[in-house]
Symmetry: D2
C-alpha cells in the first residue's frame, strides 16, 4: 500500500472520523476547518493552504456546499467560502467532495481543478443504505406502539434503500410488502419472499398497513393515496428532496408522518466515515494508486 | 366463544388497550381507575365496586402494586390502596394481576380471593421478549455511532430474551456471539449460527466487542469483567432488578452503560395489551371458559 | 381479465403444467405435441394447425429447438421440425418461445412471424434463480458429508443466481463469502453480510472452503485456481455453457466437481410452469391485453 | 488440555471420523472393528482387548447394538457380540456408547462397567437436529415439483427438530406454520414469525399445505387427519419409531409419504463425528478431565 499525504478540509463528524481512519492506515493526514473536535494522530493546519500543501489527495465535505457557495464546515469556528478553499488547491491533486452541484463543478473548472464526487459512487450509496435502513427500523420501533414483529409494512420503491430496508424489516419479523415498477424488480421482491405491489398501481391497495415507508424521490403519495392509509399507520418518507409524500395533505388527514433525511450521518457517523474512506480508496485505485 | 363480563381496574396504557380489545371481541367491559384516557366502547364505572359488579373476570395492573400496598393506577386521578380494591371483589371471580408479591397474595387470601399472575405465565414472558429485543435493537442503533450491520455483539444469557435478541441482531446483520451455562444451550447457540461462549468463563473473552447485552438477572458483569470491555463498547443491561452489571464500576471505568427496564410497555404498549389479553384468555380456557 | 385462446405446442412438464394453469385461469387452451401426459381441462388437437387455429397466443417450448431445427417435444410420440410448426402459425398471433437462436428468428421472419423470447425476460430469469439456488442447496446437502450449517461457502459471481444462492446459503447457516467485479456489487455483498472477494483476484484466496459455487458463465476456475482448492471441497458449477470451471483439470486434481445445469426444470417443473405463465401474461400486458 | 488415550471400537463412518478427529487433537487413538476403512493417524489393533488396553476412554457405536446383543460394526470384516467387547473393558475406564438399552446396561453392570450414553445428551440431540433439518430440506426440494420458496409448510411439533426445521424452512422462503401443545411453545412459534397451530387440534386445519413434516414420536397423523391433507401434498415423517404417521392409511389415500430416519448419519457423517467428539469431551469434562 502506498503511504500517501491526505488533507481533510471541512465537514462534520464523518470527515473527522475519516481523518483518523486515514491516519490509522499509516497515511500522513492534515486537517483544517474541523477544529471543534480534535481527530487523533493528525496535523491541525491553520489554513486550507497549509493543510493542502503537498497533499496528493484532498477530501472535502459531503455536501461540499449545501447552499450557494458557503463551504460546509459545521465543526469550524469560522466561515469559509468554496472559492477560498479552491484557491488553496492544485490541479494535480486528487480532489474528492460530496454532492457537487453544477455551479461548484464550474467554479472548480475555473481554477483548473478536477473534482470526484464520492457521494455519486454506487458503493457509497449501497453502503449508506444500510445505515438508512437501520435508522428507519429505529423510527419504526420508537414511533409506533406495536412491535415490528408481525407489523404489516409497505416499502414503496425497490432501489437500494428499498432492498436493504425490506431485508431488515423481514428479518425483524415484519410482514413486508414492497412495490416496484418493472416486472424484473417485482420478480426480485417475490424471490426474497415479500408481498409484491406495482408502484404505479398503489391506489386501492394502501389500507391495512401499520407502517408505510416511501423510498421513491418523486411525489408517489399524494392526497388521494394518503387518504386510503389507516389513521393509526405510521408514514416514513426516506426519499431525499423533494420527497415522495405530500406532508401538508398528510397533516390535514391526521396521519403520523415523518420525513427522515440524512440518517447515515445521524445514526452511524463512524461507519459513514469508514464508508467514505473505502470509497476514496476505490477512487484512488481507479487512478492507479495502490491503497 | 362465551360472551363474558370483564372489569379492568387500574394500570397503564396496556390495560387501557386491553379493555378496548376485550370490548372489540364482543365482551362487556367495565373500567375503573384508568380515567385519564378513555378506552373506546367500554363502561366507565365510578367505583371499583361498580366496575367489578357482575364481572366474571377482573383484570388488575402489571405490576399490581410496585411498592407496598399502593394500587398501581397511573392513569387514575386518584390514589387507591390494594385493600380497597380487594374489598370490591368476590371469591367466585377470576382475578388476574401481574407481578404479585407474597404480601399481596396473603392479603388476597384474607379476603378469600384467588389471584392468577398473568406476568408469571410462560407465553406472556415469551411474547414480551420480542418487544424487549426490539427495544434493545433500537438502543443499539441510536446509542452507537456505527451500524448494527457488522457490529460485534455479545449477548450474555440464552433465556427468552437472549434467544429473541440474538435472532434479531443476527437478522440485522450483526456478528453475534451468545453465552450460556449448559452444554445444551451452547449447542442451541451453535445451531442458530452464533458464536458460543460459556457465561461462567467470560473473563479474558470480553474485549473486541462493539456492544455487550446482558440478559442474566444476577451480577455477571462485575468490575473485573467490565475492565476488559473496550472503552467504545456500548453496554446494555436488560435484566430486571437487581440487574447484571455493576453500574458504579462501569461509570468509574468510563463505559457507556445503559440499564433498559420495562421495554415492552415503553416501545409497544398496544402489542403488550394484545399479549395480556391472549394470556388472560388462556387462563380462562384452562378454567373451562370458552374464549 | 380478457378470456383468451391459447395454443401450447411442444415442450416438457413445464409446458404441460402451463397449459393446465392457463385453463384454470379460465382461458381456452388447445395443445399439441405433449401427448404423453394429458394436461387437465385442455383440448388435445391432432395437428399443430388445429391447435393454433383461432389462438391469439401460441406458446412454444423452452428451448424451442435445442439443436438445429428439430422442434423440442419430448412428450410427443412423434418428431416435428420447427419449419412445420411455423407453417401452422399466423403473423397476427402472439408467439412466445424460449431461447430463440438467430437461425430460428430468421426462419420465423421468412414466415412473417414475430417471436417473443420468454426466456430472455428479466422476471423469468430472476424467478428461475430461486429454483436454481434450491437445486444447488440440495446438491450441497447431499454431496458433502458435513452440514451446510457452519460450512464455509464461496459463491463466485453476484448476478441473479449468485444473489439468491448467497441469501439461501446464509439462511441455512452457512458461512458465506461472495465475489463480484464491481465496487458497487461488492458493497451489496457486504450490505447483506457476506464476506467479500474480487472475482478477478481470487488467486491465493481459494483454500479453506468446504464448497465453492461458480455462477459466472466464463472460464473463472482454471487449473491454476482449482489447484488451490482443498481436496475435500465440493465444487458446483451453475453456469450455463461453456461453464466456468475446467472440469478436466478438476478431475486431474481429484476434486469433487459437479456441473449442475437446468435445475429449475428438474427440481421445480410446476413452479417453472407458473413462472412461464406469469411471464407470458406480462408479455401480453405490454401488448395491450388485459390478463 | 490433557493428552489422553482413546479406544474407538466398532461403528460406522461417524466413529471412523471420530477416531481421526481425536488423533488430530493430539490424543493417542487405537481402533478395532472399523477395518473396512482406514482412519488416518490411529493405531489398528487386532483385538478389542488390544485396542482398549491402557485406554482412559473407550467409545462404542451409536447404536451400540441395534438388535439383541450383536455389536454394531458395519465396517468390520467380522461379527462381534456385545459380550465379547465388554469382556475386553475395565471398570476404571470411561465407556461411552449410544442408544443404550436396559438390557445392555444390565449386561455392563454384570461386568462392573459403567456406561455413558452420548446419544442421550441434550447437546448431541440439538446439534444432530441441524443435520436432520437439512436432510428434511433436501427431501422437500427433491420430492416436490415446486420450489420451497413460497411453499406452504406445516411442521408438527416444536421440539428440537421442529425448532431448527422451522427456522431453516422459513430461511429458504417457505410459508411456515408450526404446531405445539403448550401455550409457551405457541408463543415461541409466534415470536419466530411462523403461523401457530395447536398439535391437539389439527383436525380441520390440514388442507392447503404443500408439505407436512411430522416431528412428534407418537401417532399424530391417523387416517382421519391424513384424509384432510391435499393429494399433491408431500408428507415427511421425521419422528423415530414408532413414527407419527399411519403409513398404511397414507398409502391407501394415495398420499406421497416418506419416513426419513437417521438423517444425520446419512447427510452429514463427518459433522456427526465432530458432534460425538464434542459430546464425549463434555462427558469427560464433567468427570474432571481437562479436554
Amino acid at each position: 500500500m502506498d503511504n500517501m499525504k491526505f488533507a481533510v478540509i471541512g465537514g462534520d463528524m464523518r470527515q473527522a472520523k475519516l481523518a483518523e481512519l486515514l491516519a490509522a492506515d499509516g497515511h500522513n493526514v492534515s486537517t483544517f476547518a474541523i477544529d471543534k473536535i480534535k481527530p487523533v494522530n493528525v496535523i491541525y493546519a491553520d489554513s486550507a493552504q497549509a493543510a493542502a500543501k503537498d497533499a496528493q489527495c484532498v477530501v472535502l465535505p459531503l455536501p461540499i456546499a449545501p447552499k450557494s457557495q458557503i463551504f460546509n464546515a459545521p465543526l469550524s469556528e469560522n466561515t469559509h467560502t468554496v472559492e477560498t478553499i479552491f484557491k488553496s488547491l492544485k490541479p494535480e491533486q486528487v480532489i474528492c467532495a460530496g454532492r457537487i452541484s453544477k455551479e461548484i463543478y464550474e467554479m472548480a473548472a475555473k481554477h483548473r481543478l478536477g473534482l470526484s464526487d464520492y457521494y455519486a459512487r454506487e458503493e457509497l450509496a449501497v453502503s449508506n443504505s444500510v445505515a438508512t435502513a437501520e435508522g428507519a427500523v429505529k423510527i419504526a420501533i420508537e414511533e409506533t406502539s406495536i412491535t415490528l414483529g408481525k407489523a404489516k409494512c409497505l416499502v414503496i420503491g425497490f432501489g437500494r434503500i428499498g432492498k436493504v430496508l425490506s431485508h431488515r424489516l423481514k428479518a425483524m419479523g415484519a410482514d413486508v410488502t414492497a412495490s416496484a415498477r418493472s416486472y424484473g424488480d417485482m420478480a426480485w421482491i417475490d424471490a426474497y419472499g415479500y408481498g409484491v405491489e406495482n408502484t404505479e398501481r398503489l391506489y386501492g391497495k394502501l389500507s391495512g398497513y401499520d407502517i408505510v415507508f416511501n423510498t421513491v424521490p418523486a411525489r408517489v403519495l399524494d392526497e388521494r393515496l394518503l387518504s386510503e392509509i389507516d389513521k393509526e399507520c405510521l408514514c416514513v418518507d426516506l426519499a431525499s428532496k423533494p420527497g415522495g409524500m405530500d406532508f401538508i395533505a398528510a397533516s390535514k388527514l391526521g396521519l403520523h408522518a415523518i420525513w427522515a433525511l440524512s440518517l447515515p450521518g445521524e445514526v452511524a457517523p463512524v461507519t459513514s466515515g469508514v464508508i467514505i474512506r473505502d470509497t476514496i480508496y476505490n477512487i484512488l485505485r481507479e487512478m492507479g494508486w495502490k491503497v
